[in-house]
Symmetry: C2
Subunit: 148 residues, 2 copies
DNA sequence: TTCATATATTTGTCACACTAACTATTTGTA
DNA sequence: TACAAATAGTTAGTGTGACAAATATATGAA
């Protein structure tokens, strides 16, 4: 394995990740989902995890704080999320899905699961396991903490 | 394999790709390379492919035209690249590495190859093959054309 | 030749990633 | 208690990614 190969794999990884995101975003747009892929990830995690602070959410979705701040801003503007004051800590917010946010998640979830499926055609269970293991190894090699 | 799993893999892929880029960018910064990761990719391809138009380069690096225009703008500003008029086609440019660009590529190449290596520790030849195959399968599933 | 169409590049807009610096508040320790 | 250090979140700046529309030039068919 030459060093040149490593650069190629890095390139392939980047190219594929961009493609997956771009494909999903196109489908989102075509379906008039009114949210971006990243906004969806935030909504979904809020829906599953219940009210939480921005820091907790940032750790869940692996986005940095400035990025999350802006995504939340957009979701607040769209009326899907609200920032409630934290009862004990005045520096912090409790992020809360509005009724509109809840129904948005409910209506989009099945459509988005279907979109996500497309990328994984022609691959089998064992491929997924390998893929997960390799991705997590890379992540750890670069100092990341993997989950579970 | 549930639909939920597909969403998780999409997430892992995105997270890992971001990590790889972020890690490289940090090292670039620490070494005062004076270019970003994407600027490097452009310089490297120009160095290996010789003078070419922006369209040709865009296809090589899988970036869209507006993105490439802006990256080139920055590289021109830094003095590593120049836009020479195309002899036959006045719509087009020949992108050309300046002397400064050539020596930049020469000096950075070994350092960057070393940085790229880090992500791939604890993986073997077979892992790389699997990884490449899976990434290319995903890319094709979403309508992309793979090379070779 | 002329005009519709295609191509090369740029510009504008919105969203996201990362860094650094900043405000406000809380916590730990002397 | 007082004050330094840590934490929650925001703002600003730069770079990149996707998409649409605009400009300039080239090409092909009538």
């Amino acid at each position: 394995m030459t060093q040149e190969q490593f650069a190629k794999y890095s390139f392939l990884l980047d190219r594929t990740a961009r493609k997956v995101k771009q494909y999903a975003q196109q489908q989102f747009k075509q379906g008039n989902f009114d949210v971006t892929v990243d906004q969806w990830i935030v909504l979904k995690n809020l829906s599953e995890g219940g009210d939480m602070s921005q820091t907790e959410l940032a750790n869940l979705v692996f986005k940095d704080h400035p990025t999350l701040t802006r995504i939340i801003d957009l979701l607040v503007k769209k009326g899907y999320v609200e920032r409630l004051p934290h009862p004990q800590d005045r520096r912090s917010f409790q992020l809360h899905l509005t009724d509109s946010g809840v129904s948005k998640v409910t209506s989009l979830r099945p459509k988005i699961l279907q979109i996500r499926e497309k990328a994984w055609e022609n691959l089998d269970e064992q491929d997924f396991e390998e893929f997960k293991r390799i991705l997590n190894t890379i992540y750890q090699n670069l100092g990341g903490q993997i989950l579970e």
